[in-house]
């Protein structure tokens, strides 16, 4: 029992329960003393917020800071050692690799959860008419599917960047190890709170939470707001940490244009996350306050404006999609050269295109509002800026194609997923212009065409690269390779199913199927296609089940990975054993060449610096 209570996660959950109870009790108690009837909503919101803080205290997130506040010293982050074994993933660790894996576990858990929601409502949509869930539960599920997976994606990106960035740039850890751990653990209670939304009445707004609807939705809406607020906070902290790490902690000789391309992608992503996430937090907080305190920010009857919310919301949520995809595109650029045995074509252009996408991404938010009733003339400039995104994205595609051209391709599982990512993301990219062009968007907006489009971009820009990354770096984490046969089954089952699914979604969207509807009119003629989409969704789920089996079985039974199994030039493969040791490189390395000079004989990217380094 004592052992059990020493696990950070357990004390955290206890802290969350205590915090929630204090929050609810406090407000109810005050109202009772004033002779007022209990009110559930403010109590629940305060409970949820204090619960999250309670979790952070319970897990030990404030311990060192409290110690410093008392004027006492703590250990340095480098002196920190984890408990050996798998148990270290359940507690408060300062090691970026442990935190990376923790992010990964949370991300995959949320992915399963969000995917399950989709399977439930996809089953309902297999046929017209309501068969086995209620309208309200359906509406809650679509919103949950969206937001749970968005948080899952943010966690997955943090997993990749936390684990990889210090390894790739030759740092011992992140710039701020304590802040890093704090950022991760903040997302855990936030995830608990968002799941709680289902049990507190749900919400019927979709993930966008537009008022006035969200101002009158059930209590679950407030849980959703609180969860997103804290998850956003976690994202901001993580982004800040990554920017400092990338800018300040690179190995000697690694100038910006010798960084691994993934570091560029993470830099661009983090710049967006650091500067835009506040807007979604603010917009949700304002709706929350409208509900709690009657502040009519978005209520026309009180002089508010519902369109204001949409501007604030999309000012984050559009750049956010680039947060979701840029790291994945970075993974594609990172893995392609290894498997085609050729340099990444136009390294600087690819690096700059990430920054270009990040920059242009800030100028396009109102393309989500072409039919919203905002000032009409605004639609044209936003159409120009939106389509401009095609230019840096095009550079990436052309560069990848040129990288593959005349390459000596090796078809290992990570490469298959990389190729899948390119093709799927291409489809996502090409279905963008009809949406970005106002005239055609008048028809397509809020239809299943949009659903198909962004599933293509997010699978191509995140899911496929994530799987590629897991298959590629799994040996670095566990010391064992994942099973190739199962990996290939996963790929060859998931890819066609996924393509069928999104083609189906786009087809019904063009024919007039609206987004987020629980039921559809059989007269519109998309019954069969919907059935096919549902079947395809289940096949994807099956392929991901195979992935999980592979993930667990290979950890114990996988082939032992010795040495540079991918013949990569990157330092974590060229210099480190698998699994990667604590605090990474015992001996610092120098960067003496370009990262992707495959095919240039005798060249090296990194070499271990001699102990008596020449000066």
């Amino acid at each position: 029992m004592k052992n059990f209570l020493s696990i950070g996660f357990v004390t955290g959950i206890i802290g969350q329960i205590v915090g929630t109870a204090i929050g609810i009790g406090l407000l109810t108690g005050i109202r009772a003393m004033m002779g007022l009837a209990p009110k559930s909503e403010p109590a629940a919101v305060l409970g949820a917020a204090l619960g999250i803080i309670g979790f952070m205290i319970g897990v030990g997130g404030f311990r060192d800071w409290f110690t410093w506040a008392k004027g006492e010293d703590t250990y340095e982050a480098e002196e920190f050692h984890d408990r050996p074994g798998v148990i270290r993933y359940w507690g408060y660790s300062l090691d970026h690799k442990v935190i990376g894996v923790q992010y990964g576990i949370l991300s995959l858990l949320l992915m399963v959860l969000g995917g399950t929601f989709a399977l439930i409502f996809r089953t309902e949509l297999a046929q017209s008419g309501m068969q086995f869930i209620s309208l309200d539960f359906f509406n809650t599920l679509i919103g949950m599917h969206g937001m749970v997976l968005i948080i899952s994606i943010l966690m997955g990106i943090s997993a990749m960047s936390n684990y990889l960035v210090p390894l790739l740039i030759g740092a011992k850890d992140m710039a701020f190890p304590r802040l890093n751990a704090f950022g991760f653990w903040l997302a855990v209670p936030a995830s608990v709170v968002i799941v709680a939304a289902i049990f507190t009445g749900g919400f019927d707004t979709g993930w966008t939470g537009y008022p006035p609807l969200s101002a009158r939705a059930p209590l679950g809406m407030q849980m959703f707001f609180v969860a997103v607020f804290f998850a956003g906070w976690s994202s901001i902290i993580g982004a800040l940490n990554l920017i400092v790490t990338i800018l300040r902690m690179r190995a000697p000789g690694m100038n910006m244009f010798r960084m691994p391309i993934f570091a560029w992608a993470v830099l661009a992503t983090s710049l967006i996350a650091l500067t835009a996430t506040q807007l979604i937090g603010t917009s949700f907080q304002m709706v929350s306050f409208q509900r709690l305190f009657g502040m009519g920010f978005f209520d026309p009857a009180k002089g508010g404006n519902p369109l204001l919310f949409q501007h604030l919301f999309w000012f984050y949520s559009h750049p956010a999609v680039y947060v979701f995809i840029l790291p994945g595109l970075g993974i594609i650029s990172e893995l392609l050269p290894v498997f085609v045995r050729k340099p990444l074509f136009g390294y600087k252009w690819v690096a700059m295109s990430s920054m270009g996408i990040a920059l242009v991404g800030f100028l396009v938010w109102a393309h989500h509002m072409f039919t919203s009733g905002m000032e009409e003339y605004l639609r044209v400039p936003f159409m120009y800026s939106t389509l401009l995104v095609a230019v840096p994205t095009g550079i990436k595609f052309f560069s990848w194609t040129a990288t593959i051209w005349q390459g000596r391709m090796r078809f290992a599982t990570p490469m298959l997923f990389t190729l899948g990512a390119i093709v799927v993301f291409l489809l996502g990219g090409l279905t963008g212009p009809p949406l970005g062009t106002v005239a055609t968007d008048l028809h397509l907006h809020d239809t299943y065409f949009v659903v198909g489009h962004f599933h293509d971009t997010l699978f191509g820009g995140y899911m496929f690269p994530l799987f590629a990354a897991i298959y590629f770096w799994y040996p670095k984490i566990t010391g064992r390779r994942m099973n190739e046969t199962l990996g290939k089954i996963h790929f060859y089952l998931m890819t066609p199913s996924f393509l069928v699914m999104t083609f189906g979604q786009m087809a019904v969207g063009l024919l007039g199927m609206r987004r987020r509807i629980a039921d559809y009119d059989p007269a519109q003629g998309f019954q069969t296609t919907n059935l096919i989409v549902t079947i395809a969704a289940f096949l994807i789920a099956l392929s991901i089940l195979i992935f999980f089996i592979n993930l667990f079985v290979s950890a114990r039974k996988g082939e032992v990975a010795e040495g540079n199994i991918w013949e990569s030039r990157s330092p974590e493969w060229a210099l480190l054993p698998s699994p990667a040791p604590e605090h990474n490189y015992a001996q610092p390395f120098n960067v003496v060449g370009d990262p992707y000079d495959y095919g240039l004989k005798g060249s090296k990217y990194v070499e271990t610096a001699p102990q008596q380094a020449a000066d």
Binding site: Y210, P212, P343, F345, T437, L510, D597
Partner: protein
């Protein structure tokens, strides 16, 4: 860098005026050849040429970018000599490419071997043969791109992608779709063919272990594929703007229809005729000017066959406008396209496009139907205001209480008091729904705007109608 190491004695001459270049290379060379190598550095052409004569280096590394080393003079002297010597021209600027000259003297027999055995072929020959064969690849792949573009476009244009085109506004939109489909087909084919071709033709065959072709970057190419897409997107945006303008052309004398949306109904008012209806009748080929407003949350007006879409916002100052000219007779449905709560999926109402004659007949019929029986009128108002989307009239449970047998019941309110449902209570319940909420119901569900949108006379009729439902 080169695979043959100058030996037995490595004498390496580095010619560059750039001290960084010198230092970096010197370090690298020493690291590579170890202590046996001797390195000397020169910074001018004459110095270099002198040393080439007197010191006889086995390898000369020349800074390609350095103008103070005359390349022509240097190469002239190099070609004139006959001792074994290798020369590397190294550039730091353009993509890091390296040019290598290998000077050796061969006996006729050696020359014969050199010509016939491929493994003895110097590296410098490879790019030439690769270039001519790669031209062939580009031609093949280019042809495949065209074929695939044609096929994809063909498949997409014979498939029925869009619903029937039933408005004038739909025409330019559909035309733009066609253009976009051609562009999508081409770009898809371009990328997929080049990648697919590469996968099949250049993939690693069993037994092969060498790396891919070494080329890193090509700035003119990058500029081309930045500028051309830039032009294309500007062109597409321009077309988009033109098309948007066409859909917004306003007729000076349109038919005005006020569209009011609420959870979860549509109401259509014809101010010219004083008609309120739950179906939208439209005369064909006559532009309708829809003024759109919502009673509660955001909804969106969309008839897929008409293509155009516009959100309806709550608030008097946020009334929006949409122009539609139906061009095809038929019965369609307006479907709410913005998530608006529980019954969003079912927020659909008929939109009926008829000839002008039929439209006039419908108007006459509607006006005549406003009869003398208050209960019959009330049924009409109730239907037109969407009351039945929450309140059934046959006892079926709904979002709100059913109207059947409602009048005369006594109910308990949220504050614990009991009231009998009579005329006065019903009037309050319609005009200010939150005033006396029945225990077990949720406040704020029923819109609170009926006191403005339905006249007192009509409310009296609706109450008469509720009374009649026993």
């Amino acid at each position: 860098m080169t695979n043959s190491t100058p030996s037995p004695e490595n004498k390496i001459l580095i010619a560059s005026a750039n001290p960084l270049f010198l230092k970096g290379l010197e370090k690298m060379v020493l690291g590579r050849y170890g202590e046996s190598a001797r390195v000397r550095a020169t910074t001018t052409t004459s110095e270099t040429l002198d040393l080439m004569e007197s010191w006889q280096p086995s390898l000369v590394i020349v800074d390609y970018d350095d103008k103070s080393i005359s390349r022509a003079e240097f190469l002239h002297q190099f070609v004139a000599g006959d001792l074994p010597m290798q020369v590397m021209l190294v550039s730091l600027q353009a993509s890091g490419a390296v040019v290598v000259y290998d000077r050796r003297t061969l006996t006729p027999a050696q020359a014969q071997d050199w010509l016939s055995t491929p493994q003895n072929q110097p590296q410098s020959k490879a790019p030439i043969s690769r270039r001519s064969s790669s031209m062939k690849h580009y031609v093949f792949a280019g042809a495949l791109v065209l074929v695939l573009t044609f096929l994809v476009d063909l498949v997409l244009s014979v498939t029925r992608l869009l619903p029937v085109q039933a408005s004038l506004q739909a025409k330019p939109i559909d035309r733009l779709f066609d253009i976009e489909i051609v562009a999508i087909s081409f770009l898809f084919s371009l990328i997929v063919v080049f990648i697919g071709y590469s996968l099949i033709v250049f993939r690693r065959k069993p037994g092969q272990d060498e790396d891919g072709a070494y080329f890193k970057s090509n700035n003119p190419l990058e500029i081309i594929w930045t500028v051309i897409p830039l032009g294309a997107v500007i062109g597409l945006s321009y077309l988009g703007a033109i098309t948007l303008g066409e859909t917004r052309q306003a007729d000076p004398a349109p038919l005005e229809i006020k569209v009011v949306a609420g959870q979860w109904f549509w109401r259509f008012e014809y101010p010219e005729y004083g008609i309120v209806s739950d179906k939208m009748y439209m005369p064909v080929d006559k532009q309708a000017k829809l003024t759109l407003t919502s009673m509660d949350v955001i909804h969106s007006f969309w008839v897929p066959e008409f293509r155009v879409k516009q959100d309806l916002l709550p608030g008097e100052n946020l009334v929006r406008e949409l122009r539609i000219t139906p061009s095809l007779l038929g019965e369609y449905k307006v479907r709410c396209a913005e998530m608006c709560g529980t019954s969003h999926a079912y927020m659909e109402s008929p939109v009926i496009v008829v000839s002008q004659t039929d439209f006039d007949a419908w108007v006459q019929g509607e006006l005549a139907a406003i009869g003398t029986d208050p209960a019959a009128r009330g049924e009409r108002w109730a239907k037109n205001n969407g009351c039945q989307s929450c309140h059934s009239v046959d006892g079926t449970p709904g979002v709100g209480p059913t109207w059947q047998g409602l009048f005369g019941q006594s109910v308990e309110l949220m504050d614990g008091s009991t009231v009998v449902i009579d005329d006065a209570y019903l009037y309050t319940a319609i005009t200010s729904p939150n005033a006396q909420v029945v225990k077990g119901s949720t406040p704020n569900v029923m819109p609170q705007t009926y006191k403005d949108s339905i006249s007192d006379d009509q409310i009296a009729d609706i109450i008469a109608y509720i009374k009649s439902l026993q």
